[in-house]
Symmetry: C2
Subunit: 359 residues, 2 copies
């Protein structure tokens, strides 16, 4: 009797192990990739050009949290991309200088794991974090900062000048470009491995049965067509604009051949509201809606110019499907890097003063 | 010859030690007090009612950094009282909800060492940090939060409910009052001992010769009449309103018998611009101006009702005096507590949504 039990148990275990192992295979075949657990391997991905050093990350962190990067002296990168709130601001459309709403009704995307995105900005107009970081600083509705004033401000703060020298050598120049570069270097470190990664990295017990079921449905229903690779998103894909979707302003996307950067699903439970215009607060509803309007088309590759002719074929997700997918999404909540809130260096008498443009 | 040298040296040393020791005595006699180096002694001062626990400080820190405490979901306590910028926002007048400037042109005071203030707010209308913290949350030009919505929002975030229970017991209620209380508990820990404290605590080498000279002038010229006690400020004193000062709006102060809370001088080099309306950016000029219009009156005590009849007698400070006082002020830059930027708990579907009131 004992032997029978043991045999039975062993056979069940083998079976379940086999199923799990094959789910890992299936996920990888479908284009899903974990954040590598191996530090060297991870480093190759987040720092292909070898720009990361401790000094630069520390300086970049300071500038990321420093509101003096903005015209008003009040808006830091962390204002829209709050590292305590999943890397977002939690409002439907971003609010910037003088309380300006984003004119395209765009929702702030998360900065966490953005290093894994193939494109930055909703319309994908930047290829790198370094390029991206120059945008919001200068945008009139975001930080509204003139690049000359920015350079003057940071150059007027002795401790920053010193830190730039220590991080980049004596002859370094402080400009919009080098400021954006070092902020981006800090952002490259903002990766959040989760239980999902542990699972794909071989820890078969890292996901519950329900979470695994969710992952399976996610793959089989075709969500993975767009939400793939390490970021479960981050590349440009076609977006249904003509039918039931009421975009109040789709300016950029129309101009961009109706392609949109697929948002990452990592830490998704922390980053409501959802979609590029923040119109959905309920993640379940967002999943269901995506099924209706987005899932199922056949991609012709990842390039901008040949993606317009794809056909979007709605599928339907049952409440049970959505439930399981949601369970899977919860496993994408990652372990955040520990961030010591920086002490920012003092301004000097030559520092260009903040201009709030208030009444 | 050697013996003579030694004798000479020893006599010089004794002399200088004696002078230093007497400066410490002089400072204490004049009403200056250090942040105690003894932890128990410090604890009695910052926590007379024994409210501080690790769990409460951690919860208070979260709420301090959580912008969801405001109507818009965008403005945290740290927006105006930035712990990376000396506990202030660095702009002349505070900017709040919908980019509203403070209607009385008031500058945000620092939160660092505010636990040592006898009064909170510029007009001193609060006696405690607990009471103070309720103000900005509700003020229409600051966080603009309705207290019922606030309670609903925090109660709708499961992890906050859990943390409140752990910090205050199972039956605790989450309300504006308890939220303000726990934020204030965190603020009680924001003390920044400096070299000046080390000096007053007996380390005679903690200040340079110039800094000591500055301290001596600071005492002798009478700055210490208002800038005294641990905070070098923090109590109500008369403020010259009639002559050369052009206050654009002194509403509160007039209503308050022309009494104003003396700002702390701790971390003063980090908290430009100066004065209640942020009209001075240059600390040297601010020191000189204070000499002209403020210093030298005789106090009749610290009470509100008997301070109106005092006479303000301008004195003049030479450039050399100002220089030495500035050197002394630099020694007031304190060691900030290490703050790990908090991961804030997720909102739920019942969380009242942020209302930005944007166009």
């Amino acid at each position: 009797m004992k032997i029978l039990k043991l045999l039975l148990l062993s056979s069940i275990t083998t079976c379940s192990l086999f199923a799990t192992a094959s789910l890992i295979e299936e996920a990888k075949k479908a284009g899903l990739k974990p954040i590598p657990s191996d530090k060297k391997e991870l480093n190759k991905l987040i720092d292909p050009k070898g720009v990361i050093t401790t000094k630069r990350v520390e300086l970049g962190k300071r500038l990321y949290f420093d509101p003096r990067v903005s015209k008003s002296g009040l808006i830091s990168c962390n204002w829209c991309h709050n590292l305590g709130l999943g890397g977002v601001d939690g409002v439907p459309k971003a609010i910037g200088h003088k309380w300006s709403p984003n004119p395209h009704y765009l929702n702030s995307p998360t900065v966490y794991n953005a290093v894994f995105f193939k494109r930055q900005f909703w319309n994908g107009r930047s290829a790198t974090l370094e390029d991206q970081a120059q945008g919001p600083i200068q945008a009139g509705v975001e930080m509204a900062m003139d690049h000359k004033v920015l350079a003057k401000r940071i150059n007027s703060i002795p401790a920053y000048v010193e830190e730039f020298k220590k991080a980049y050598g004596k002859d370094t120049k402080i400009s919009l470009k080098t400021i954006a570069n070092v902020i981006a270097t800090f952002e490259r470190t903002l990766v959040t491995p989760s239980r999902y990664d542990d699972f794909l990295n071989g820890d078969e017990k890292a996901l519950s049965k329900k979470e695994k079921k969710g992952l399976k449905i996610f793959i089989e229903k075709g969500c993975v067509t767009c939400h793939n690779d390490i970021a479960l998103g981050g590349s440009l894909k076609p977006f249904e604009l003509n039918s039931k979707y009421k975009f109040r302003d789709v300016g950029d996307f129309v101009a961009n051949n109706k392609l949109i950067k697929v948002p990452t699903l990592r830490n998704i439970t922390e980053t409501a509201p959802y979609f590029h215009n923040g119109q959905f607060w309920d993640l379940k509803k967002a999943i269901k809606e995506m099924g209706k309007v987005q899932v199922g088309y056949k991609v012709k590759g990842d390039k901008v110019d040949n993606s317009l002719s794809v056909k979007i074929m709605p599928i339907s997700l049952t409440d049970n499907d959505v439930d399981n997918i949601l369970a899977f999404f919860k496993s994408l909540k990652g372990r955040k890097p520990t961030i010591i809130y920086p002490q920012l260096p003092e301004s000097s008498l030559t520092t260009p003063r903040p201009i709030t443009d208030s009444k």
